[in-house]
Amino acid sequence: MTINRSREFKNQVFVWLAVTANTVGNFLLSVGMHRIELSPSASPLEYLRIFANPWIDAGVMLLIVWFASQLSLLSWADLSYVLPVTSASYVLTAVLGKIFLHEMVSIGRWSGIFAISVGVMLVMGTSPQGEIRSREELP
């Protein structure tokens, strides 16, 4: 019982970490890219210049955290669980855009956010390893 609760807690921590790191990482990249003047035809070497921007560096670091936490999740959870659950980042992105970038969020967009939230909650209610098939590598 205690082991199950501890695994459930670990799972929730990593879902939270993946969603937050992905959302904030993309947000910081977006802020950084808007502060850099880079033409679409810039050479690959010129693109390296973007790493001189601290917003970009922080964004890249958080996306590395996102990738590592997503891989950790996949070491005990199904892909068909991880993908919908981590889609909560779409909702957080819209909320961040509304709060910090003062973006307009239309009724259609709120409807989309609602649909994603319901989808995430439906999948969060399932077991990360699937309900019926047991996996040998998991105790």
Binding site: L71, S75, D78, L79, S106, R109, S111, G130
Partner: protein, 121 residues
């Protein structure tokens, strides 16, 4: 390049990338030690794993084809078109990774794809 071709390449390579990395992590087994040395050891093992290497390459192809898609199509087309990838990944996870996909997971994947479509309108 044709936008639909780029959508197809982005979805297929993204699906292959996620399936291969998921397979690699399943083969590795559950990570339970998160001390720095242990995590570095996991990273070193995964960097030599064929499924992980091909999965990351496929994800890179998906990323760059999505960027190329943004060059020839509007964001409001690119995002919902590639959101279909969520449903494809669920289907292929059932077929190739032998995952049990309950009705709640199907409903979740479809609602997320529909929601992404609405958000990008």
């Amino acid at each position: 390049m044709n936008a639909w071709l780029l959508v197809l390449v982005s979805i297929l390579s993204g699906t292959a990338g996620d399936l291969l990395t998921a397979k690699s992590m399943r083969d590795h087994g559950e990570i339970s030690d998160f001390r720095l040395g242990a995590v570095a050891g996991v990273g070193a093992r995964l960097a030599r794993d064929f499924s992980m290497i091909t999965g990351v390459v496929a994800q890179a192809v998906s990323f760059f084809s999505f960027v190329a898609l943004l060059g020839v199509a509007e964001l409001s087309f690119a995002v919902p078109a590639t959101a279909l990838g969520n449903v494809a990944k669920t289907l292929f996870a059932k077929i190739f990774l032998n995952e049990y996909v309950s009705w709640r997971r199907w409903a979740g994947a479809l609602l997320v794809a529909f929601g992404v479509y609405l958000v990008s309108l």
